[in-house]
């Protein structure tokens, strides 16, 4: 049950009511921002974790597979609330922006000032292009099915190319200790991480090698398929949280 309002009796808020409603908007926005900064950031740090923390974990197989798959969860849930109840197509962008704010704060204060890592070693990845497309697609189609299939896929497929301008330069080869490394690998070797031996990196492990050296597109399409499934799952989790059962009068 929800607060159904017959169109014949609908009157827009004016005066004091309108001001209060606007104040409520800002209150919710600020709370939502901090909620998503905290919760999405925690969720992301515990699941994507090292793949997003370190420049020498951002490989071509696991990073583009895991990051969008986990990254689409909160955007889907929040879109379900904001679109379904308010026709606001900003859930994905809001979530990813909140995540990035939290991530940057952590990278600067916890990783750099507290633990002395250079910030360029812990640059976060961005998912904002995918989030913008996800929001726009949901608004234009108003369809969970189409957004799941095409939006979920776009979110995954856009991830690696949108981050290559940030991280491509870290993949330049370096001759070091009689071997060829990337600049990113060298960061991992030089800047000592006591609890992070090289073998812990889950990179380049897998069998996505059928098409020679083109592992990235395979990973991205695998992620696209999984994101298309993950999106509706989290959409329904979001809907479950957004009950208006007890809202009878507004």
């Amino acid at each position: 049950m929800s607060a159904h309002i017959p169109v014949s009796t609908f009157k827009p808020y004016r005066g004091e009511k309108a001001r209060l409603a606007r104040a409520y908007d800002y209150l919710i926005l600020v709370l939502a921002l901090f909620l998503f900064i905290g919760s999405f950031h925690l969720h992301f740090a515990l699941t994507v974790g090292d793949w997003d923390f370190w420049v020498d974990w951002k490989d071509r197989q696991w990073w583009p597979l895991v990051t969008p798959l986990i990254g689409i969860t909160f955007p889907a849930a929040v879109q379900a609330v904001l679109w379904d109840k308010f026709r606001l197509p900003l859930g994905a962008t809001l979530c990813v922006t909140a995540l990035l704010l939290g991530t940057w704060v952590t990278r600067v204060f916890a990783y750099h000032y507290w633990n002395y890592f250079p910030i360029n070693m812990v640059l976060p990845a961005t998912m904002l292009p995918g989030a913008l497309v996800l929001d726009a697609l949901l608004m234009l189609t108003n369809s969970l099915t189409i957004t799941s299939i095409f939006g979920g896929a776009a979110f995954a497929l856009l991830f690696y190319p949108s981050n290559w301008p940030i991280f491509g330069m870290f993949h330049q080869p370096v001759e070091y200790a009689n071997s060829q490394l990337t600049v990113a690998d060298l960061f991992g070797f030089q800047y000592i991480r006591t609890g992070m031996p090289e073998y812990l990196r889950i990179i380049e492990r897998g069998t996505l090698r059928t098409y020679g050296q083109y592992a990235t597109p395979l990973s991205a399409f695998c992620s696209a398929l999984l994101c298309s499934l993950m999106y509706p799952l989290w959409w329904h989790i979001g809907k479950w949280f957004a009950s208006t059962r007890y809202l009878t009068k507004i």
Partner: protein, 412 residues
């Protein structure tokens, strides 16, 4: 109520006083946390030394030494098929510039061979001034960290003196401290501004209650305007095109980019340094006397060398038990190693060439308890491991044998 107020006031005053007391930061690395049988029977360190313990930011320091990979590797610990010689530091206060295993440079993880002997060298460079407690140690995959001898390093100078420039294969010199940072910030700001513009576009109008009411009233068509749809279409087409164009530009800019490197180094052990065959030691029995905090080892020594030898040291898990009858000034230990003159031998006469003798060694010291090595007798795997050093005083030779035996506890 009054009573509660007093309690809270006292607690608050107590906390304030406590917070004002000088506190030293924790400087241990969990050396004693790992089960003793792993510390004693995996990586057996010896001859570890630092080139200097006082230096400035941007100066280099090296730590070198040797280790024997125990033959009697615990069954419950995965074999060292991926191991990483690391340095325990409180963050990258030093950077690692070079690392050698048996004289070969290596950067990845390595497969070690049980029974193998290795020598290592790690070159570090001071990055942040301060006084730090540092260990070389091995990360063993699926087993944990086996600490080597610890030392205190004092790094002087200013953090701003640090520099770390390297060259790419194409010859471009890059500063590792700032490389790619401004570029990364630029792209985050670029996409952040686009996202912010999209959010502000929506947030500028009445949001939750107003829109919910309109939606419930069936006025959905008024909530999304033609302009909204136009902008959304621009995003839907423009963002993917922009992403692909930027990706292509970057790919053309760095045509030699390669994937992250994930190889496992293969470095063969040195010719045998421990159990080299000249002086053989066979462990017959080991008993731990709980009350006396002493390990009693019965060993059979077979001297196949050309000179008499004497037992000088028994070493396990960075605890060195020395035979006081020998002057062993050359024993290298870390600052935090325990060196005890508590090694006694029932028959300490030199073992002549060709002689086989059964001797009983008693390694007695409170270190068995303080280093939490006595926990061995309560472990699932209660075998001891360590290195026995024998000396040829005439020729100045040293022979090393590994010790390995099940330990029987004696409670009286």
């Amino acid at each position: 109520m009054k009573t509660h107020f007093k309690t809270w006031l006292l607690a608050l005053i107590g906390l304030t006083v406590l917070s004002g007391l000088p506190m030293s930061s924790a400087q241990a690395h969990g050396e004693k946390a790992l089960e003793p049988f792993i510390r004693m029977r995996t990586i057996q360190w010896y001859d570890v030394q630092w080139s200097t313990q006082k230096f400035n930011v941007d100066d280099e320091v090296s730590v070198s030494g040797k280790f024997h990979v125990a033959e009697d590797w615990p069954i419950s610990v995965p074999k060292p098929e991926a191991s990483f010689l690391n340095i325990s530091t409180p963050g990258p206060v030093l950077i690692r510039t070079e690392r050698y295993l048996n004289g070969k440079p290596w950067v990845n993880s390595v497969a070690l061979q049980p029974g193998g002997d290795y020598e290592f060298k790690v070159v570090l460079k001071g990055r942040l001034p301060g006084r730090y407690h540092i260990h070389p140690f091995f990360n063993l995959k699926d087993a944990g960290q086996v600490m080597g001898p610890g030392a205190w390093l004092e790094i002087g100078g200013a953090a701003s003196d640090f520099s770390n420039t390297i060259k790419t294969i194409s010859g471009e010199a890059i500063d590792m401290e700032s490389f790619g940072l401004s570029n990364g910030i630029f792209w985050h700001l670029f996409w952040g501004l686009l996202a912010a513009a999209w959010l502000i576009w929506w947030v500028c109008r009445p949001l939750f209650i107003s829109r919910y009411r309109m939606l419930e009233a069936g006025l959905e068509h008024e909530l999304v305007t033609k302009n909204d749809k136009l902008i959304a279409k621009l995003i839907l087409v423009g963002v993917p095109v922009l992403v692909l164009v930027l990706n292509e530009i970057t790919a053309n800019r760095y045509p030699d980019a390669i994937p992250l490197q994930a190889g496992l180094d293969q470095i063969l052990p040195l010719p045998a340094q421990v159990n080299a065959g000249t002086v053989n030691v066979d462990t017959l029995k080991a008993e731990y006397n709980v009350a006396q905090r002493s390990m009693v080892l019965q060993v059979k020594v077979d001297n196949r060398s050309q000179s008499p030898v004497r037992i000088g040291e028994f070493s396990t898990s960075n605890v060195h038990f020395l035979n006081p009858a020998l002057s062993l000034s050359g024993v290298m230990t870390g600052d935090n190693d325990i060196t005890s003159p508590g090694l006694s031998i029932d028959d300490d006469k030199p073992i002549e060439p060709g002689e086989q003798r059964v001797v009983t060694l008693i390694a007695r010291d409170a270190a068995w308890e303080s280093e939490k090595l006595d926990g061995l007798i309560r472990d699932a795997d209660s075998r001891i491991g360590g290195l026995l050093f024998l000396y040829d005083e005439l020729l100045g030779q040293r022979y090393i044998s590994s010790i390995s035996a099940a330990v029987i506890p004696k409670f009286s």
